[in-house]
């Protein structure tokens, strides 16, 4: 059967696109985020085989498929073996190389990985480290990126360092997407459509105009509208509540000072102090 050349190329290309699409599914998600050097090469090779196969009419399609099948199967087998044994992992993926330990650069390891001092400094600078004295530990990962642990005193302050109470925050739920209500997300946060309707009415917007709406674990709704010129009022409930608490506390202190009744004075002072404690307790939650 004689086909026009262009039809042959078109058919081959379509075949390749479908084939590659299925193969990508087969190889899994891991490829995208943490490809090892080996997997990287595999991907490129499969891609170029597919490219040649779709354009070069002198190559029989069958040969191309055999080649691709081998390039897919062997990495898959390797993957299986790697999951089973650490030795195979070390051979295929290589080991991470320690570059800086206890704040000292290990020159031997740099040489082993063909890293120059400039390379190392460049990688550190990309991590916002300009002074080697700030580094406690650095390791070259198998994918070629550098992971750095800064010295304790150079690490950013955490709430724990400051002994501040934390507000355990759950992931926010996206309840409106492209103007449509996502019922599953609403259910996950224990809310319903009626609640969403009242919240939207409070903000003065209709569901159709909302591009994206999220609810945090405190039940606070944040929306982004299609019309970017309209500003949505910032949520005020939490800061307002905190402010009212502070006002009550100040009032009680004032009463304590004003009254001549000794018993009432004590009562006011006691409660003013109690409210101050409560403010400290709930402030992380309400911020």
């Amino acid at each position: 059967m004689i086909m026009p050349e262009w039809l042959d190329v078109a058919l081959r290309s379509i075949l390749m696109i479908v084939g590659i699409f299925l193969l990508v599914r087969l190889l899994g998600k891991k490829q995208l985020s943490e490809m090892s050097f080996f997997e990287y090469i595999t991907g490129i090779t499969i891609g170029s085989i597919a490219g040649v196969l779709s354009l070069d009419r002198s190559v029989p399609v069958l040969y191309g498929f055999i080649s691709i099948a081998i390039w897919v199967l062997i990495p898959l087998i390797f993957n299986l073996l790697m999951q089973k044994s650490k030795k195979v992992r070390d051979v295929v993926e290589g080991k991470a190389t320690v570059f800086i330990k206890d704040g000292k650069i290990l020159e031997e390891n740099l040489k082993k990985e063909h890293y120059t001092t400039e390379n190392l400094l460049y990688q550190l600078r990309k991590k916002d480290i300009f002074n080697i004295a700030d580094v406690e530990f650095a390791v070259l990962e198998t994918d070629g990126s550098l992971s750095v642990l800064k010295k304790k005193e150079k690490q950013p302050v955490t709430l724990k360092d400051m002994n501040l109470p934390t507000n355990p925050e759950k992931e926010p739920q996206t309840v409106i997407m492209d103007g449509k209500i996502i019922d599953e997300a609403l259910k996950n946060s224990g809310l319903n459509r009626a609640w969403l309707k009242t919240e939207l009415e409070k903000l003065g917007v209709a569901v159709e105009n909302v591009f994206l709406g999220q609810v945090d674990s405190m039940g606070q709704l944040t929306v982004d509208l299609y019309a970017d010129k309209i500003t949505v009022p910032e949520p005020v409930e939490k800061p307002l509540l905190l402010a009212t608490m502070k006002k009550c506390q100040a009032d009680l202190e004032l009463f304590a000072l004003a009254t001549k009744d000794q018993k009432a004075k004590e009562m006011y002072a006691k409660h003013a102090e109690k409210i101050e404690q409560l403010i400290q307790q709930v402030e992380p939650v309400l911020r």
Binding site: S217, Q220, C248, T259, H271, I275, L278
Partner: protein, 68 residues
């Protein structure tokens, strides 16, 4: 403004705080947060009852300003 009316105003604020805390407690998904807020609301309840007692004392002293 009399002292009694000032205290009454404060009582209203206290009640609003209590209601606000309870609302957030109801809405929060996290159990720890819920508990913190519920405890705070309960503490405010105690303060409110004390302030109410004080208001009735004040009203006895100045009966002409009774009521709201």
């Amino acid at each position: 403004m009399t002292v009694a009316s000032q205290v009454k105003q404060c009582l209203a604020s206290l009640k609003s705080v209590k209601a606000g805390l309870e609302t957030f407690a109801e809405q929060s998904v996290d159990a720890g947060t819920k508990q913190t807020l519920q405890h705070a609301a309960r503490d405010f309840d105690r303060i409110i009852s004390d302030i109410k007692k004080r208001i009735s004392e004040l009203e006895k002293e100045e009966p002409q300003y009774k009521g709201f």
